[in-house]
């Protein structure tokens, strides 16, 4: 889904996240698939299914591989995913022994799920850093303005006075909870996919378990049961993204309300301008946080549909993840950036003197 709003210089800096987009880009994704294929060939050597010399050639082939993207795309259209064509390109022109040293015993979903997990882990570790920066910025704002009195508001109505630190406390608690939950999430997600054609993990020569351990080790992943048709980790990841962006959406909603004339409880440097009313200072980043929260929360309702896999592997449910998850991650990245930038814009919290 490529369009001006979400994947173009026109809007990218508002709604997109360059880092996540790059991490999930075709080039990056291909590299992760090749990393899997490399680890696989190595594992075949380690369990003795491929001879050293043959394996060494195969590894060289993988390392020096130059993809024909156009043919990979045509392969995806035909096969539903690029792996069969990728394997064809990798094996092209090689001896039969070398051909067998590449991918044999793995299935497309092994390659792609592992690649996805590798990217997600990188993105999440970056999110952790960025999340801590957001949290530090809230802490700093609380330090600067926390003691100021402001009106506490419930159900959109003035209730009783609070201090700025009281409102920020909810922000802090929520963001902290999400960051604290992250290591466990990453750990359960960062699991290699090694199942083979129908998930038996029995190739080659019933040494599938050993192969899984080797592949996992090469890729820095852990091993669990085959998860071809158990998408718990993916849905848990989506849920975490909905929580994170939901909290930033709450922060955004608060700021849009605080920025209103008549309320005026926040000062923002460099808020957005209007083409028709140059005097306006729109809390654009705060609005965007709400938009991104609603987007990600809603996507989770679609991602959850992907739990209903048929039989050993479902093309239908799986491809739904592809359409939804990377966008959720990129929106979450945008949310992190917008949150950080919004908090940096704040030069006052609480009423003007």
């Amino acid at each position: 889904m490529s369009n001006a709003f979400t994947s173009s210089p026109l809007f990218d800096r508002l709604l997109g996240d360059g880092k996540v987009a790059k991490a999930f880009g075709a080039e990056s994704y291909l590299q992760k698939m090749l990393a899997f294929e490399r680890a696989w060939t190595q594992a075949l050597m380690q369990v003795g299914a491929v001879e050293e010399a043959t394996g060494a050639i195969a590894l060289n082939v993988i390392d020096g591989f130059e993809p024909n993207f156009s043919k990979l795309g045509a392969g995806t259209e035909r096969d539903g995913l690029p792996v069969p064509e990728l394997v064809r390109q990798l094996r092209a022109g090689q001896t039969e022994a070398v051909q067998k040293a590449i991918h044999t015993g793995a299935t497309s979903q092994d390659v792609m799920d592992s690649a996805t997990v590798l990217i997600c882990r990188e993105v999440l570790l970056d999110f952790e850093t960025r999340g801590r920066e957001v949290l530090a910025r809230i802490d700093a704002l609380s330090e600067s303005f926390g003691a100021t009195e402001m009106m506490g508001r419930t159900r959109m109505q003035a209730a009783l006075p609070i201090r700025v630190s009281d409102r920020l406390s909810t922000w802090q608690v929520s963001v902290s909870r999400h960051l604290e939950a992250l290591p466990e999430l990453v750990q359960s997600l960062a699991t290699v996919q090694v199942g083979g054609a129908v998930g038996l993990r029995n190739t080659p020569n019933d040494k599938g378990d050993e192969v899984a351990v080797h592949v996992a080790k090469s890729l820095g992943l852990s091993v669990s049961a085959v998860w071809h048709a158990d998408r718990t980790s993916i849905v848990n990841l989506g849920n975490w993204l909905a929580l994170l962006t939901g909290t930033f959406g709450k922060i955004g909603a608060d700021v849009t309300l605080m920025a209103q004339q008549g309320v005026d409880e926040v000062g923002l440097d460099g808020a957005g301008g209007s083409s028709a009313m140059p005097h306006k200072q729109n809390p654009v980043r705060a609005e965007t946080l709400v938009t991104l929260a609603r987007f990600v929360a809603g996507q989770q309702g679609i991602l959850g549909q992907a739990m209903v896999h048929e039989q050993e592997r479902s093309g239908t449910a799986w491809a739904l993840e592809w359409m939804v998850l990377p966008s959720m991650l990129e929106a979450a990245g945008a949310s992190l950036s917008q949150a950080q930038a919004l908090l940096n814009q704040i030069n006052r919290l609480g009423a003007r003197d």
Copy 2:
């Protein structure tokens, strides 16, 4: 949302769950709100804000309370929730001192969030039992039929032979993961809500923290930060329900496919009849599992919208939880029942001899 399909004798046994419906019924919910008010008055006594004698009268009032439901409903229409009218009814005819011994310092959301959490915990503990029964039944089926060969199918196509136990293994792994995640979920959810009017937890007389501890102890809950506007636990609960029903949806999808003529890899006792074709044996429970999975997964996309609370407390976002969460729990209950019943119907897995 009361209708023939989801809350009537006509359809309840298909799509509903009597236990959950009762646990979230008006009578039960009221009892939980009263349990909170009782614990609150006790806590006020324990921190010395209410004298023993006065408190004892207040506790008697609460214990002997007979609600006027009609007026409670009218109160909800006016106030957005029943608590102000409930407090009015509780205090009616009492001395000023006794009136002050009831609810003073608490806010409506304290009462309702705590009541909701109490019910959810009960329901989840019951789900754990029922989930273990489902798992035991899958284990038993694997014991009986696991060694039988059947065709492994990927992307809806025959792939390679597997054994029945291989397909069941995915079911087992998924259900186990959800059950293993449950204790932590319950623990983080079973947190008392004590915040007071604007979430400061500072009443009475700045002894709010002590009060929170006492109330929590009375109710068997733990204490954490005020979560009036941090709905992480609620959204995590919804996610778990989507995972659970999603897995049962996967099981249901598998069974509908196995029950097809031409595939015939499952035998079902007492499958559903047709009004037009008495010869048919419809895999009704399996279909229902898919329906319930799609329902719950989709609801999670709505529940996530409720993360965007405004300010100290949001009426809008909060009420969205009320509309969505109990239905998700009841659908999950129905899914557990249907899963159990479906598995009990199975008299053969794998091809006929």
Copy 3:
């Protein structure tokens, strides 16, 4: 899904709609199914498939029918729907000829889809009346307060002055558009379902088309192609409900913002009270309109999943409609009531003098 929040005296007057709940109640639904069965028997007589005398007895049986709800519920659990058991009860104790004069040639989905459509039409005609009342009330408010100046606000910021009538104009235009679209919606929805077991509309004796015309006429419905697996009309209905409640949600959002201290552009009689802060006047009905809008909009994302019917008829996709559509209709009814009541509460629009 029966719970305190959506189907009990505690919350019904806030989030529910008694009229819709009753129209979709088990008793009402059963009556509509019986209306179909009556029309069916009559049609069998009209095309000569059933003799007059036999048919007359059958009609008497239908007219005097007293259902055993408990057995109907058990039938639903077994068969996935109550129709086979309903037919069993209708035919019980009758001669074979009379038995054949009841339901023969129809299928369960014919009965239920037609019953659903009959109820939806009634509900929608009532909605039209209520929608016109809402519109009239907006017109009256514009008449009373339209000339008052107020601040136009865009992106949550003061922009340029407008008049009250300008803001109300958007409300009027949107509500009017929905009301104007209603007759066509009702017309395309109010279509009899007559397909028979596999949708061929060929019974009895290839006189299915004639039968469809007769049944439709009896029920005041029109005839179109069999729509067992074409759910366009249902999804269009859901979309209309999302539009209607979405517009009321926009009105609600406007009022919550206008009711804020510091903005104070609306006066509300009898706004909601707080258990902790008796001085508060919460814009409860306005908040509720936003909640209902988000609820219904989100449900439409689930209802749309029900387009994916398998083969001639899908139990899975169809039952998803049952779980979602009546709740959407009831929420829309609640939205209409809350909109009307909110508009009646308004005693001032625009700034105080």
Copy 4:
């Protein structure tokens, strides 16, 4: 949201649609915004607000405009949309009179909504053509194979024999309904947005209505009430896309089921291969239709949230449309392509001889 799966050569031909992606690309979108600005300047001339000579220079400026995309992107990040920076670039270096001849009286949302509508119309007209091709292909299949007997299946179970034409009839009826609904949809959507800063349509010099007529005429659009905050047309468009892809999803589901071993009621040329099992023929396009249907249906549950606009214009709700609608259109384009290609693959319907 740019990623390998939805916007790269790796997957584009499976899940994307080049035509729609291009139509919504940054370059195309910019051209539509410039078309609006051109029409606006012309209209200012036509109502006498800008002198001919000045206007002519302005039109030249617009026609010869070369955008600085990087600065436009920075402007979007700051202002929430690119229009203020676009206007700045257009006016740069011009006399004050020429500056005033560009954009004066319009607001950013006028430009962007009109541009969006222009693109949607183009896309929908193309969809009509492609939809008719799909329909023609179904007709041709019915011509070729319609008379063949096959098993009618309901609730995933063999029911009674039908002919191939009976199953295809549901496909035909559904696709036809969507195509028949298209002209009215396009007509109500293809409405110029002319409202000005706060939607009053009163500039310049109270000649806003005249301006609207001129702008509409230039762009080939019609005029209706200002719809800054009435998003009915957009949500109706989304609903139509859900219907269209939902129907193709139903067709896809049917084909995946027909392609199963043991059922074998369809023959497919060139179905997809597997990296692990060269013998497999996966019904990839059919699966993809189901995926796309679930994706679009779910997005509609998010798009509907965008009905809740605040006040005269909402940045939050509006940007949610940007994130969702173009992806829905592109997914619908992909669905049309996959449907056409799938139907072209079919070389047999009904059982093998």
